[in-house]
Symmetry: C2
Subunit: 181 residues, 2 copies
């Protein structure tokens, strides 16, 4: 199974395309989509431009690596970071659109599901998740930037589920909570 994991962001989006099985996964391609924010002082101009760039980059990526399943982390909103979540959701909307238009299966995963799937604990910290990613792909170090490691973790979790949509159930793959994120 070929899975593309995506860790969405408006400036930096981590991605990782992996293949094989959960026991023996291999990386096809991993990296970041970096969007130019040099004109960020004018959001009415810069945001639509970045969304258009993001759509183009993601479409090219999908055409290049041809995944069967695309896995994206569900958006969990901290009350403290509402503005960030709303900005992110703009980018996420464009990603879901692009995935759908490519006719691909979408899997949305809760942060806690990803942690549990990789480490056995929903309370694992970032370093523990990254260590599993490093070990399972036989890497000397955890991939940098962290967005790439996160995308690899998302892809691994989706692969262990066999690409099944999983029971988000909370409506829209997101929810408000003090924990998620």
């Amino acid at each position: 199974m070929r899975v593309l994991g995506i860790d969405p962001g408006l400036r930096l989006t981590g991605y990782a395309c992996i293949e094989g099985t959960r026991v023996k996964p291999s990386i096809i391609e991993a990296g970041v989509i970096r969007l130019d924010a040099s004109d960020a002082s004018n959001p009415s101009e810069s945001i639509p431009r970045r969304l258009l760039e993001l759509e183009g980059d993601l479409r090219e990526l999908i055409e290049r690596v041809m995944p069967e399943v695309v896995a994206v982390e569900g958006l969990f909103v901290h009350q403290k970071h509402v503005n960030t979540a709303v900005k992110m959701a703009h980018a996420r909307g464009v990603m879901l659109l692009t995935i759908r238009r490519a006719g691909l299966r979408l899997v949305e995963l809760k942060p806690m599901e990803i942690k549990t799937s990789l480490t056995g604990s929903g309370r694992a910290n970032k370093a523990q998740v990254q260590e599993v990613v490093r070990r399972d792909f036989g890497l000397a170090e955890a991939p940098k930037p962290a967005d790439v490691a996160d995308a690899l973790a998302i892809a691994l979790c989706a692969m262990s589920r066999g690409g099944a949509p999983a029971g988000l159930g909370s409506g829209f793959g997101g929810g408000v909570g003090a924990r998620g994120g």
Copy 2:
């Protein structure tokens, strides 16, 4: 000047294309884009499908009415309605993408700017705004559903600004506050 005003929503998006001047505006076309939410129990399926429908409908609308300027209300987040704002932002991202791809000028307006522009008061209620819309377009009644009246108000406000981008300045045309919305 031909202005398209949009009041975004995931189920119901009001739109209004108007022409002329602020003193003598006329309606070219107004209505709603209604998205089928019948499979809403499976958000990982239904949201991307609705985003794709929304993009197609908005693109067709733009091609049909050919506006010079598209005006969208900035997204103001109530702490109480964070989930709604995040859902909305997915749709909004797709809209900004579509507007940008069509090469159109985007104007983002604060709710308070719209109210002030139409009624003279940033504290005007919905009924007062709708009454100005009804009067200025010489209609017997305020347009229904309210989403259409809102889109007409947005378009009128953008027209009175001559389509200038206005000073949102708060980053991303939105902010967290108890008032906006």
